[in-house]
C-alpha cells in the first residue's frame, strides 16, 4: 500500500486557518496521534501560512499556495508548504529571548520559535521561484 498523501490549496486569507486545521486533524487521525501532535502540527502550519498570507503577497491580490501532507513513516507526519510569494526564509529569523519580563517582551516573533520547538524537522529552500518549507513531527514523541 502506498503511503497516504493529500494536497490542500489555500487562498491568501486568514479565514483559511480553521480549514487547514481541520484538514490536518483528518489526515493525522489514522496514525493515532496524541492531542499534542495534532495541535502542534496545526500551530506550526498556522504560524507559517500566516507569514505567507500577511507578508508574502504585497500586491493585495488573491493568490493560492499549497500544503502537502504526507506520512514518510507510520510515526511521522510531514507538511510541505509551497508558495510563489516573495522570497523569504522565516526559519532564518533571529531567535527570540523567551526569558524577558513582560515590559520588555516584543509583540511578535514567537511563531517561528514555536515551529522550531514543536517540530522535529524544519527546512526552507528557494527553488524555481518558489518558497518551499518542510516541517515534520514524530508522533507520540517522548516528553
Amino acid at each position: 500500500m502506498s503511503s497516504p498523501a493529500t494536497t490542500i490549496t489555500l487562498a491568501n486569507d486568514l479565514a483559511e486557518i480553521p480549514r487547514l486545521a481541520e484538514a490536518v486533524e483528518a489526515f493525522c487521525e489514522p496514525f493515532e496521534p496524541s492531542m499534542k501532535d495534532i495541535l502542534g502540527l496545526q500551530l506550526a502550519l498556522e504560524e507559517l501560512i500566516t507569514n505567507i498570507i500577511n507578508y508574502g503577497y504585497p500586491d493585495g491580490q488573491p493568490h493560492t499556495f499549497t500544503v502537502d501532507l504526507s506520512a514518510p513513516a507510520a510515526d511521522r507526519i510531514r507538511a510541505v508548504i509551497t508558495d510563489d510569494a516573495i522570497a523569504y526564509d522565516p526559519l532564518a529569523r533571529a531567535e527570540v529571548d523567551v526569558t524577558l519580563p513582560l515590559d520588555e517582551r516584543p509583540i511578535g516573533g514567537l511563531g517561528v520559535h514555536l515551529v522550531k520547538k514543536l517540530m522535529d524537522v524544519s527546512h526552507y529552500e528557494r527553488r524555481d521561484g518558489k518558497n518551499i518549507l518542510t516541517i515534520e513531527r514524530r508522533l507520540n514523541r517522548p516528553e
Binding site: P18, E46, T50, V98, T99, L102, R105, I107, L110, L118
Partner: protein, 108 residues
C-alpha cells in the same frame, strides 16, 4: 472561539472556549479594549475549555496583560489545558504572565 463574561469577587472572568487562532484573536483584543475602557482592572482568563492557542493568541494575551498593567490593573490566566500550557511554557509565558491552577485562585 467563544468568550463568556462573568464576575467573581472583584475580577471579571472571561471563559474562553475553542481555538484562539489568528482568525479569532482580534475579537479578544476588542473585548479587552472595551473592558479596560469601561473601567475593568482585573481580568481572569479561564482557559479550562481553551483547546488551542497560536502565537497570534499569545500576542493577544501579552497585549491584554500590558494594557491592564498600564491601567494599574492585572491579568491572570487560569486552568490551562496541557496543550495550551505547553505553548505557554515554550514561549516563556509561564514566568511572564500570572498563571494559576484554578479560576478561583486567580480571582482570589
Amino acid at each position: 472561539m467563544d468568550i463568556i463574561e462573568s464576575q467573581l469577587n472583584s475580577a471579571t472572568v472571561l471563559a474562553l472556549s475553542g481555538r484562539l487562532d489568528g482568525l479569532a484573536s482580534p475579537a479578544l483584543d476588542q473585548k479587552i479594549d472595551a473592558l479596560v475602557a469601561s473601567g475593568v482592572r482585573t481580568v481572569v482568563f479561564d482557559c479550562s475549555a481553551l483547546a488551542y492557542v497560536s502565537s497570534a493568541g499569545l500576542r493577544s494575551f501579552l497585549t491584554s496583560a500590558k494594557k491592564l498593567k498600564n491601567a494599574n490593573g492585572k491579568a491572570a490566566f487560569a486552568a490551562l489545558s496541557p496543550s495550551v500550557k505547553e505553548v505557554f511554557e515554550l514561549s516563556g509565558f509561564l514566568t511572564v504572565l500570572e498563571v494559576h491552577p484554578t479560576t478561583a485562585s486567580a480571582a482570589a
